[in-house]
């Protein structure tokens, strides 16, 4: 269960749309708000130009990435053709989000039913595959269970609804621990002690005074 939770958390792939500007034919300007990794190159936040490699056929799947308003070459990436039957209305660059790391995922171009998909680096694939692997931890079953408390929900209860990701795991509310073996002693006997003490003291005083 814990392994599944960690895996689910780690694999929560957040697809982050990034606003792109001035879409042109196979040339996209984008302002990256995060540090994005492309292959072995890390692009710090800032403005970039993503441009299709112009080759003879005009259908290259290689994208070139430039900074400084398209004047400084940063890196290139071989992409996979991808189609969208719903022709996108806006040009957008989609990022993968794995924990603190961002990677290019897709580039969609306004008015075109095709896009560019960036394959994930092998290191990331391996890492994500490891996260997917369930981890089995040996456990011992015991008949003496941990006492737990859980709130009882009724229509009158006004318990605040916690966010799902913050809600702690609620342990089963059964009280299965062993019952105490003996009745508790529920008499302090303070009155008896006072009466007895008073009597003994009185007798002691009488003995002292008696000649």
């Amino acid at each position: 269960m814990i392994a599944a939770g960690i895996t689910a958390l780690g694999l929560a792939t957040l697809v982050t749309p990034v606003k792109a500007q001035s879409p042109m034919y196979d040339r996209v300007e984008v302002n990256l708000p995060y540090t994005v990794t492309v292959g072995d190159k890390t692009l710090p936040p800032g403005s970039y130009v993503i441009q299709q490699l112009r080759d003879i056929g005009g259908n290259s799947r290689v994208l070139l990435i430039y900074s400084d308003n398209g004047t400084r070459f940063e890196t290139s990436a071989v992409t996979i053709p991808t189609l969208d039957i719903n022709t996108p209305e806006h040009t957008s660059v989609i990022l993968h989000h794995f924990g603190p790391d961002y990677y290019f995922d897709k580039v969609w171009i306004q008015g075109k039913d095709y896009g560019y998909e960036f394959p994930l680096p092998n290191s990331v694939k391996m890492r994500e595959k490891e996260r997917m692997e369930p981890i089995t931890v040996n456990a011992t079953y015991s008949t003496v269970a941990q006492q737990t408390q859980a709130p009882v929900t009724t229509p009158q209860a006004e318990a605040p609804a916690p966010p799902p990701e913050e809600a702690p795991v609620e342990a089963p509310p059964e009280a299965n621990r062993e019952a105490p073996p003996a009745m508790p002693h529920t008499s302090s006997g303070w009155l008896m002690m006072l009466l007895g003490g008073g009597s003994l003291s009185a007798v002691g005083m009488m003995l002292r005074r008696k000649k």
């Binding site: 737990t148 509310p173 302090s188």
Partner: protein, 201 residues
């Protein structure tokens, strides 16, 4: 020699008597002052929990530590308010009614057993009756129990301490309430959970 023996006996009786007076006073005064200190501890835990709730919603899943004041028991009809500590040894019960370690916590499924002295805190139970409401307030919620049964059992009837399928509350004290010496029976108040009123704040 005879006079010396009498003197020795008188001192012995006086010492024993004063010791018993001290013990009796300690029991009685301890039951009074114990409730004050328990109330202070409980109010502090309420404040701490309020801070926790403002930042993160948490549910307590661990039992309180022995001696910890963890609940406030209110019987509205009897105008009684008592603070409950975890544990039922002599020191615990001198301070306050004690929750039996191992029994269910307030609001949880099972039998929540609270024991108290018949001659101090739980003397009020002589006036309780079926249908009375009992409110157990903890830093994590308020639970309303309704008394459905009162019974007197022997000290060997430990079945009243055993877990129950539903959320129930058992208040236990010695019986008869007015008795010189160790009372031979136990008075048991059985109540069932009628609902959670609201989270404590």
């Amino acid at each position: 020699m005879h006079r010396g023996f009498k003197k020795f006996c008188s001192y012995l009786l006086l010492a024993g008597g004063l010791f018993l007076l001290f013990l009796g006073a300690r029991e009685y005064l301890g039951s009074r002052t114990g409730q004050y200190s328990a109330a202070r501890d409980f109010e502090k835990s309420l404040e701490d929990n309020a801070i926790d709730q403002s930042t993160r919603y948490t549910i307590r899943v661990t039992p309180p530590s022995p001696g910890e004041t963890f609940a406030k028991l209110i019987i509205p009809r009897l105008n009684a308010t008592l603070y409950v500590v975890e544990g039922d040894d002599a020191a615990d019960l001198r301070r306050a009614p004690g929750h039996l370690i191992g029994s269910a916590l307030p609001g949880a499924r099972g039998n929540c057993v609270i024991a108290g002295h018949r001659d101090t805190h739980f003397r009020i139970l002589k006036d309780i009756r079926a249908g009375d409401d009992i409110v157990l307030k903890t830093p994590h919620g308020q639970y309303l129990y309704r008394v459905h049964n009162l019974k007197v059992v022997t000290t060997k009837t430990i079945s009243v301490l055993e877990p129950t399928p539903g959320p129930e509350l058992s208040l236990i004290t010695c019986y008869p309430f007015y008795y010189i010496g160790s009372a031979p029976e136990r008075f048991v108040v059985e109540a069932k959970l009628a609902g959670a009123i609201q989270p404590a704040s």
